[in-house]
Symmetry: C2
Subunit: 361 residues, 2 copies
Amino acid sequence: MEEKKFSETSRKHYMKGGDGPDSYARNSEYQKQVLISAEDLIHQQIDEHLNIQIPRFDPQNTFRIADFGCSIGPNTFYAVENIISPVKNKYEKSNQNQTPDFQVFFNDLVGNDFNTLFRNLPSNRKYFVAAAPGSFYDHLFPKKSINFAHSSIALQWLSKIPKEVIRRGISKGRIHYLGGEKEVKEAYAAQHEEDFGRFLNARADELVDGGLMALHMVGFADGDAFSLSGIQIEYEILQSCLEDMVELGKITKEKVDSFNLPHYFPSESELKALIEANGSFCIGKIAKLALPARSKLGPKGLTLQIKATLGMLFEEHFGNEVAEEVFKLFLDKLVERPALLDHKYWEHTIYFVFLKRKGVN
Amino acid sequence: MEEKKFSETSRKHYMKGGDGPDSYARNSEYQKQVLISAEDLIHQQIDEHLNIQIPRFDPQNTFRIADFGCSIGPNTFYAVENIISPVKNKYEKSNQNQTPDFQVFFNDLVGNDFNTLFRNLPSNRKYFVAAAPGSFYDHLFPKKSINFAHSSIALQWLSKIPKEVIRRGISKGRIHYLGGEKEVKEAYAAQHEEDFGRFLNARADELVDGGLMALHMVGFADGDAFSLSGIQIEYEILQSCLEDMVELGKITKEKVDSFNLPHYFPSESELKALIEANGSFCIGKIAKLALPARSKLGPKGLTLQIKATLGMLFEEHFGNEVAEEVFKLFLDKLVERPALLDHKYWEHTIYFVFLKRKGVN
């Protein structure tokens, strides 16, 4: 094994730990809705694509599942149950009720709050638990050791801000590529191409032949990449809060200029092209998930949800106090202008992507 | 897989987390000396007993190592390197320099500070990392999935205080069986028999046929179980500190009466009998390790070491403030009576136990 495999990526960000009122654990209902809306698709795809003859069934086999970007729960436990149940069904139907042992690997960055994840493990779980810390853009598991890879609402996090954006300062005055200059978008797209390619390469090595992968990815409907969208309105409001903080003299304009959100949202055709270019996977399905409008969370719920996922980024760059104020301003703006809560502003496109590892069998 | 496998034992205790001056991470030099003194033995035993023909070498094989009771580092990383190096050597000699991928599972109780463990992972490691939280008296891994099991200075922790001791109050006035009534010692021995039996059963299921296990266990030289020993003096002083606290009116006598240390130290003949009764392992070696005298740590070093490993037990039962005062009194006693530092009081017997899983091959 080569040492370079363990180079950590530069991203250090993670969800808000613990289980306090601000925590990701308490503010991730929307992410759970994504899992719920993908439930039927995952059952159906597993039933169609899981090849339980490879390898030939041996009661000593272990079925290994990895959730990439698991955060601290409880959604990851729900996701895992949602995989084990149809896999078990298929084994039971085909093998006189014999099923393998299940071992689940929970993956997230080294800085993720694994202590909280472990404390919250369901006591009635029927799988062996392990955690694998590290960036999912690197190799995390031995070759051909994973049967099912899963990742929900995590791959929009790039490994880093594109170098071009920082070096040339082309994103000054904006915290994201959405609605910005074309060259900024291109730099983000190039970073995503590199990162998603690394993700696919690592998983291709780690999955057994015929192994399966289900991804829920935040994206754009094709041809819609520059339109006003739920994500863009969220970022525009956050940006205006930062501008308010500059006006109030609490942070400098330069501090805002050097802040960029490390997120990218691909279109369906981009995703397909990247998966095909990688070449290790057959596409079982790419579908848009039907989701409840986020706007139903109301001003406070929306703010808590966004703070639980983006708050740590703001804290790291601006410090805790400024981050707190930014999200207070964010909430104020939503309360003052109820029109902002129009559901059309808060729609995401979430792609359900189901892949099967090609192999000799 | 049966649900009961996941019943957690009642023990909740673990080493002092974080990496502050009181932490286990900074006060475990003695435990590292144990690993160092076992180094040659482990290399020699691996070379003698590792069967690399089973299964036939396949570069896609993974060699899985689990360290039971890993705490938060850094000793566990040292222990793991000390296993990988001779395993790799043997593979290289026999397979034209081909070696498998290594995957290491770090195990400790759910309450262990895994966040700190992950932050301290060596950046130049050449193995895949996973953590498996839970009591090592339960099943933690799928059947036949581990090649090498390791545990250093952890198996003296019983899963709980023997029921008899609590129910009948036979240990009143003492915090441990050492130097106490015969029936207390017998209750502790029975609990150890049950616990160590569970440990061996779980590992027997989890290890591959021919899989190896190296244990470092604190014990007594045969026939010496009731003599004054390093551990006994440590506990006697701790007990006298608690008595001082009662005198000072800071805790009640009843509070001390209900406090018992959940530790047991078997003799070599007890260990052999339990391993043979289990029947799943061949004994490769049982040897006493040569160790530097703990007394060299001096009063402060000794106190910090003992506090890092036992402090959480005292905190849980008496609260933080009382625990702090107890260890201050402990230090005072060592400083006031330098004779207590005589090295004969601080000798431990540590057994090196090397086992091989029996199997069809």
